[in-house]
Symmetry: C2
Subunit: 697 residues, 2 copies
């Protein structure tokens, strides 16, 4: 019997081997951009994430990046195709950390996790179900991988252990060994994609920031919002009338509180959930007049909507054959992959909203929950399945609406509830209802690995402390937003902290020259404006989940309710307190005990922060404001100050300025500031009068 058994085992082993080898797919890596390679596996589907986003690379941006070779050992990338699915494997080294895989809320390093990448409301667990489950990861080792498929894919980010691994985990006996772990060491990222084909991209660094830059540049470069998008915004209670909203804008004037745009919630529509996209005649008797009235106050309107078309909408009969097989809240789900469906929406939205002054949209409820959205059994007339459409719907909505504004040479800045890979250039900010302040900050950090923007929006608070802490951090995010749709809270609702709240909103406004230049970096170089600490050049791959960088120079360490002190990690080099200019520390973890009135901010040695005087609204085209330039620390520094008209796409045709701000020691050893001249004839919104402030004594 033993002999027979050995024979049998050998047969099995041979079969097993054949099975694995047969299924293995030869992969060819083709360079597509500097430091980016693509492999086509199987027969890619006609829709994918990048195909849905449909954005061309910003090729000039790559010129600034170091030239690099393929960052992995190609033999260690294993691809198999079997049972209508693609199996992918990428190697991991012992010390590598893995960042990304979309907008996670609780963890930064994803190594060891299992994620089902699936567009959804975030449900309280980093399990891959989130608003932007981007199948892109960045290794602390300085390379990245993107899997382009509009499918629910399952990711084992260093959690699956193969029998034939060359780097097997150590063996422990749980009975007796305290070091036993439920999740042994794994030397690979493995991904299962239920698709007949897909495209994989590998990005070189050399640094993790370079990887992110290449990703964003490939996807068109980051979005450059209109300047007004960087101002403060409030969303109105849901059933507000046009009179209520104009009144609210006046209240902001009376309180001298910043307000650049205002969010108009579902009540503007004659029916919502599902939507008509038509103004409600009672609450909004004169939409055009309403928008003009706001405009006269320098305030823009952003309209809430979801895409589900009410049987009462004029679009309903036209869209009936152009929608998915299933309804959401009784509304048709327009098939955004059909040009005719997009055309109908465009005609309606332009005529009814945009042409009379609407500045943008908040596009809600296109993410989940499973119980709300169209089901996976839905089929769309374009031929795409519910699953495919769910993975790309947010992209298709962003692409469509972005295009509408672009054709008008008008920038927009809006809110989106679902996104995915390829969205870097879309002027949309993700948000949700989950409302954990701490997790909102982690999401902000993770947004920098996913080519998306995120706002830790403020709604209501249980205490003045929570209120000021939330307002402080939202003012250091892509969209400084109070979402009062449900509660009607005002920035000054908590009198104890009214001053501190106003101060931080004012600081946000003063920082617009710095922030706008930081977005210009996003646009031209692909560097995300709000970033994880591990994207700081020269950082050791830190994965703090509660502090982040705003641009190259400002470290933000928000405080959370109930905290009197916190730890802050300061990367290599000296770091200075933003408010006092004093040395805070150098490549160390410090403990700070800030008061309620300020959000802790630190500037790196030599950091130059261009600011402007406090104002309620972002500068408008042609307007010149005074520059107030701060320098921190002892080191020389320089800063590329960007400007353009702030509202149009003329910058793409060269209508912009880059002015270099420099600080150097003069012959006496004193720090002195200087700046290059703006190019004549280019938009440049600053006066010649410039104040230099050397913050560090």
């Amino acid at each position: 019997m033993n002999k027979a058994f050995v024979k049998f085992s050998l047969v099995i082993l041979v079969l097993l081997h054949a099975l694995f080898i047969r299924a293995q797919v030869a992969v060819t890596w083709t360079p597509v951009q500097p430091g980016i390679w693509k492999a086509v596996i199987g027969k890619p589907e006609s829709i994918s994430l990048l195909k849905a986003a449909d954005v061309s690379a910003y090729e000039k941006g790559f010129a600034l990046l170091p030239s690099v070779g393929f960052p992995l050992d190609k033999k260690e990338i294993v691809v198999r195709q079997r049972d209508g699915k693609i199996y992918l494997r990428f190697p991991l080294q012992k010390e590598e950390k893995i960042y990304g895989f979309g907008l996670n809320f609780q963890t930064v390093n994803q190594r060891g996790r299992v994620l089902d990448l699936h567009v959804d409301h975030y449900g309280g667990k980093d399990n891959g179900r989130t608003h932007a489950p981007v199948p892109f990861y960045v290794s602390s080792g300085g390379y990245g991988v993107l899997i382009d498929a509009a499918r629910y894919m399952t990711v084992y980010a260093g959690s699956a252990v193969r029998v034939d691994s060359e780097h097997p985990p150590k063996l422990y006996d749980r009975n007796t060994d305290k070091d036993w772990s439920a999740q042994p060491y794994s030397d690979a990222v493995e991904v299962l994609v239920p698709a007949q084909g897909l495209e994989v991209y590998v990005f070189a660094g050399p640094s993790p920031m370079n990887v992110v830059q290449r990703y964003n540049l490939m996807n068109g470069g980051g979005c450059l919002p209109p300047k007004w998008g960087l101002g403060f915004t409030e969303r109105m209670p849901t059933l507000s009338s046009q009179r209520d909203i104009v009144g609210e804008a006046k209240l902001f004037e009376q309180h001298d509180f910043p307000l650049d745009f205002i969010g108009v919630e579902p009540g503007w529509q004659s029916m919502a959930y599902p939507c008509t996209f038509e103004w409600d005649k009672q609450r909004f008797p004169n939409p055009s007049g309403f928008l003009k009235e706001l405009s006269a106050m320098g305030v823009r309107a952003n309209l809430w909507t979801n895409p589900y078309i009410s049987p009462k909408a004029s679009l309903y009969p036209l869209m009936k054959g152009l929608a998915g097989s299933h309804t959401v809240w009784n509304g048709l789900v327009p098939d955004m992959a059909l040009p005719q469906a997009r055309k109908l929406l465009k005609e309606h939205f332009l005529k009814e909203h945009i042409n009379i002054g609407v500045s943008g949209y908040k596009i809600d409820e296109i993410d989940g929950f499973d119980n709300w959205l169209w089901p996976d059994v839905a089929i769309f007339p374009s031929g795409y399945s519910g699953e495919q459409m769910r993975q790309v719907y947010g992209l298709l909505m962003q692409r469509m609406t972005t295009g509408w504004f672009r054709e008008r040479n008008q920038r927009t800045y809006g809110l989106i509830r679902a996104s995915n890979a390829g969205a870097s250039s879309f002027p949309y900010v993700i948000y949700d209802d989950y409302y954990s302040h701490r997790d909102f900050i982690t999401a902000l950090i993770n947004s920098s690995f996913a080519g998306v923007l995120w706002t830790p929006e403020v709604r209501a608070s249980e205490s003045a402390e929570e209120w000021v802490r939330r307002m402080q951090s939202v003012c250091f995010s892509p969209m400084a937003m109070l979402n009062a749709w449900a509660d009607g809270t005002k920035p000054w609702s908590f009198p104890e902290v009214e001053g501190a709240v106003k101060e931080v909103a004012s600081l946000r406004m003063q920082l617009i020259p710095y922030i706008y230049s930081t977005y210009a970096q996003y646009r031209w170089e692909g560097k995300p404006p709000f970033r994880a600490m591990s994207l700081v050049e020269g950082s050791g791959g830190e994965d703090q989940r509660d502090q982040y960088m705003m641009g190259d120079d400002v470290l933000v360490a928000p405080m959370f309710t109930g905290e009197k002190f916190r730890k802050v990690y300061l990367p290599a080099g000296k770091w200075y307190d933003f408010y006092t200019g004093e040395l805070a520390g150098e490549h160390e973890i410090i403990t700070i005990t800030p008061g309620l009135d300020k959000i802790p901010l630190f500037v790196k040695d030599g950091g130059i922060i261009p600011m402007m005087p406090p104002r309620r609204q972002a500068p408008v085209p042609g307007q010149k404001v005074h520059l107030l330039i701060r320098h921190y620390g002892k080191a020389n520094g320089s800063f590329a100050l960007y400007d353009d008209d702030g509202v149009s796409f003329d910058y793409e045709k060269g209508a912009y300025s880059f002015v270099t701000l420099s600080v150097q020691r003069d012959s006496n050893g004193n720090l002195a500031g200087s700046m290059s001249d703006p190019q004549p004839g280019k938009p440049y919104g600053y006066t010649k009068e410039v104040s230099w402030v050397f913050m560090t004594k």
Copy 2:
């Protein structure tokens, strides 16, 4: 343009229609058993849930059921095949409730839910991820549907709404209408199965109980545990030695506390997590002697294990080519679909455990979490994927081990962490770590729709109250188990309630004649021993999640910590207090305020409850015990008392007794009990001496 647009729309509509019609699959329903029809869709895979379970129907059981026709309008069952997936749709009527879809913990009626049926640890939400995600549902309308595929399937149980629905939900405006619902009415169950083919079964009733019976009979009839399996069991702390365990059994003797079998946790193995399946020489120097010593006390041993094979196991080199591509905790995952893998395990387990007296197993950790189990990217030498193997592993383990004992003509009764459709006849009880008492009871209720058994095991408690409440309900479940593996708690650990705990354990023992007969119903008629209220014949489809039936006559309404009173739903007819015989109510909801010392139990009018005197252990073959028969209420009644040797499968060859217990009013109008004679020569473990107790005065 308008004309062109109309033309374009028409083309789209035609295409859309063609797409749907083309994809639709004609379905043929073939009768396979009385009241059960099967349809083969596409090309079913070589593995499925029922193929894994591999059980033949118990055909004789159908004879007792009414004859019925196909219970649905066949035209309303729509099947589509597209993109390598099967789309299924079944109609729902307005008032229908949907039960089942596996072992859910928080909800009974599943209508309106979205479930991804996926073998997993239960994670706190009824989302389809559970230990037994059985793709079978029972309608309150009196029919059932089973989808037989070893795949993760997505179920929209009356939650997806089609554009072309003939029963569309009412339209509401969320802006102004308080009746707006996030989940509008749906008239269908829709299921997406990512498989090239599958089999669907439709079960007729006419009652929901009849549906469940047909399901269980098709799957071999329910399991009949050995009698000792109905006694009390404790699982030992994990590193207990053989001496500790024998000592514990003696402690139970000293405390005069019931104990029929004892659980031997991981420490019996020389290495565990992964496992060697070999006795640890230090802790268990003499396994055979240890088992004999226990046996001398009437106590059996049940061995904990998981299937993952340690590199230190003697089986490891033999199994290396017969295991999946990935390890779990460094252990090989044997490919249970390979006969050779099963053979190796059988040889080892028989020789090392079963032949020396081990009575059964607790098979752990074959359910999830994703981070623990083999990944979906795993491939098994049998050719099955990680996904397929995950859905059937629990079934394959049950089938294999059940077979080992059956070949010895020896019944076993064990614990299993993962199961699925087809498991009715397997003598295994599901358990988990989730430990919500209330949700454990809901799981017990839902187990009756899934053809599985479940124990609300007791571990530790924060108070004496919690302790007695948990012990009370576990004694009214398929396995009366204290799992002390982590805490070492004893039944008498809370002195305040020691008496009450002992009383309920004793009551469990006294009720064995009733419970064993109830399991006989499961075996011969397919009626689950512990049942949802909606399975009470004549019930209106109630979906209580905190009360259930034990057999036909006993209603169990467990109390939970912190509750001084509770509501109890009493179905049609009169119901009587088990302890006093007093009338409790009639087809109504009553509120009771029981003390700590008793679990509320009610018996229906005419109910006959055969009991035996208190004892520590279940009767052994040949032993005769005294019968004490209770009658409740005013009505006549009868009860089929079942008996056999309690340990072997001889009952399948006719070696069993059915004795009819009857209560009828005599000519004077007094109730009087009588019983039929046991058949001579058949096993019957009761003395002739019988006490009749008429509980209701």
